[in-house]
Symmetry: C2
Subunit: 533 residues, 2 copies
Amino acid sequence: MSTPVYDVAILGSGMAGSMLSAVLARNGVKVLLIDAGTHPRFAVGESTIPYTSALVKIVAERYQVPELHSLENFKGIAENISPMCGKKRNFGFVYHREGQPHDPAQINEIVLPQVEQRMESHLFRQDVDAYLFHLAVGYGAEPHTGTRVTDIDFHPGKGVRLRTDQGATFHAKYLVDGSGYRSPVAQKFGLRDQPTRARHHSRSMFTHMIGVTPFDDAAAARGHTQPSAWHHGTLHHVFDGGWLWVIPFDNYEQSRNPLCSVGLTLDERVFPASDLTPQQEFDNFLARFPEIAEQFRGARAVRPWASTGERMQYSSSRTVGDRYCLTSHAAGFIDALYSRGLTNTVEVVNALAARLIDASRDDDWSTERFEYIERLQQGLFDIHDDLAYSSFVSFRDYELWNAVERVWESTNYLPWQVLERAYARFLATRDEQILRDLDNREVPGLPDPIGREIAALVTYTRETCQAVEAGELASGEAAKRIFAQLRQAEWLPEPWERANPDNKFFAASPQLFSLAEEWGRTKAPAHVAPLFR
Amino acid sequence: MSTPVYDVAILGSGMAGSMLSAVLARNGVKVLLIDAGTHPRFAVGESTIPYTSALVKIVAERYQVPELHSLENFKGIAENISPMCGKKRNFGFVYHREGQPHDPAQINEIVLPQVEQRMESHLFRQDVDAYLFHLAVGYGAEPHTGTRVTDIDFHPGKGVRLRTDQGATFHAKYLVDGSGYRSPVAQKFGLRDQPTRARHHSRSMFTHMIGVTPFDDAAAARGHTQPSAWHHGTLHHVFDGGWLWVIPFDNYEQSRNPLCSVGLTLDERVFPASDLTPQQEFDNFLARFPEIAEQFRGARAVRPWASTGERMQYSSSRTVGDRYCLTSHAAGFIDALYSRGLTNTVEVVNALAARLIDASRDDDWSTERFEYIERLQQGLFDIHDDLAYSSFVSFRDYELWNAVERVWESTNYLPWQVLERAYARFLATRDEQILRDLDNREVPGLPDPIGREIAALVTYTRETCQAVEAGELASGEAAKRIFAQLRQAEWLPEPWERANPDNKFFAASPQLFSLAEEWGRTKAPAHVAPLFR
């Protein structure tokens, strides 16, 4: 085999592949970026969360890619990337029961911080992905789009040779497979779990629509008292057997985008796949849920529906091997629920980039150096699986869903604060060890010092939901037990009342944060207190 | 055949199909819009001219589609459609001879009006096309993208039945084929001229690039004295056998787009097609023209090159038949030179929409009603063919090119003024006959009162260039004869000096316009004078 020409070859120029390419190229790594498709293109994974945005600014600062700072809040995105993205001011959940009128008390909402430098976004992915791709190419990554890899040959201890349908041959020292379900590396090495180890079951269909009415204007929203309008955030209609997302891009005055992202995700055991088109399935679904249907009267898909057809969960027995790594969606997928796909993508880019830069500087690509990536990705997968699985079980009964939703809420605040504190300390000291520690955790995907406790809560919730699903436990009793766990969780700021079933809204207001600060000073356990200073 | 469900079915949701759909749907016509592809997508046809923009505002006002006003100048586009478009402040031409240093005197430039409401644009087509498509759907056109038409059956006097690869059947009273080269209607009825009647010969390859250096910064641009920077407009590198376009999207401070459109168009008889990839061909071409190459050092294509492969001219014996019409690019194509594709598209939409609206109101779809569209499209094709043919012949000798470029210039000013005056009169009177007269001309594509005279000049130029190509006339002598014609053209404002070979720049400044106004008052022929009031 001749000398490799590239340090790292990356398959897939989506968000993961392009962001990683930009970071690597910026740091002197010779990058080859191959994609079977081209930009611009439709993609989902549109809803950011504070944890994602905190990761983005860490990546921007740690790897000195200032252009990534534009991606860390809505303002930067709107001004520097695209005016086609939406504002995400909240996470909203509206619970429905087929054949029954919606109970206006069965809603939950998290209102995100409303300050400019913290505003979350509904990413119009075609523009964001192209921005990142152009960033990578601008930093010197060598792009070959419209190019399919036909052969991958690994030469142990040396690297990889790629052949393409364009007749080219490339050599690289390391291969990152950032593609997706049809990952060529997973296929080559038979890495897919058969069947998947995921407990969660679902299939999905999604598109972009024009003419979606804000749910706030629907009759079913009368009597709602949540603090932030549904259309100002990511709306989840929740029901036994699935959920439906509405992600508006058209939800602020200066928006240039008349579209909303709409997706219907169904447990395929409850709603089996059929020969119907996705539009017909969607119409049939709306006929069963007339209160959801109201906001889609006059709405029209502006592109063909994408559909996973069958169950969409997949996982891999390994995600890291000799001279290769599969990144998030090439490694596995659970569900769009809770917008964890984007987060996992950036988390893996952050942890993997440092290791690839080091490996390329040392010319040492030994697999041990990437072992954490394996643990990280498998850990992220399992946590997401537990959360999605528990949620779908809970959808049978609002009381249980109300409890599981709080568990999901609880996985967010503190990890986000850990990142913010680390970022602030890094800016003050420029001590890279602070960031290296972040991506070398005891519980992958859940940062110290509260990773173990959150993981235990998630596991408890999943086990409780398993008992419900097995018919061993009534859903009401399960809800009580989970709320009891939440009450006992000393690391959760008590003034936020997340363990109170009746307190269904959480607005991340300055008042609530100052209450939490006081709690941090006076009552919080020692290991948590610093997060509230 | 069952009752048609749609009035008009339109194939292709590009600029022509989407704009026409929006206009028709807005006016109560039931529209079906089918496209084999989806948005977003790459397209070329990026450079607007004042005539195009004047047509756009006429369409917006005439058909009461206010959203189209955003497309009539750069400001509206940047604020309401996309911040990814470039500013087009000039048309620039730089002449090169292989193997010889560039002569800095061999340049030409038209500087367009610099006022906000007249600023021309480099359209980032993926965004503009999606805007128009969403506009059409928003007005009620029924979209089916990702859908290929497999069967077209005309039922004389009744309409058309379409079957698709999605298993659907649609009926419509009229079919507009707005697709392109592979027009299903042209194929069905064998409408393509075999061979094409076009005199012009060329093939083309094009892409979007990042990292293109403004030509103003290249060594070859030293000594240039043109009034407006090359990178502020659409730059044409011109040479014997072809031309190369550079259309910057990155040419103003607030641009969010780092790309330039780059295209190389070659006479396939001078530069025969080969087995090389377009990138290799482009690299080889740059090696032959090192002064052009300078601005591409460090530039990189961010998408696969598109290539026509062989000669790209095609034409149709008819473009209108019983219950169908082929619009511009489904009917024929000449060359991207002079940005006439966009103009022709809007011109045909403008003339066709009124006829379709009338036909649908009267339920009378007889072919005679569309005869003008046939004449218009064939006329537009032939004028463009004459201009492109003459230009390519002239590229052998700067002196001759300098003359032909003036002929092209001369086809622009007065027709543009005709539209502006008609638009102003329409706004003042709301008399629709003013606009109906515009699209019912003696010389299609060249408005009265100067259509005949411009057509005669274009024909003379083409015949002169034919004599040069046949070896019957020296190029220098041909140039002299064409300049003599320009000097005799009484309808050309004499103070503009377009017949002076040494006056290579035309800046559409207030001063030049007031000189022309004075000329209009004192010296202009009676039929032209009103255009300068």
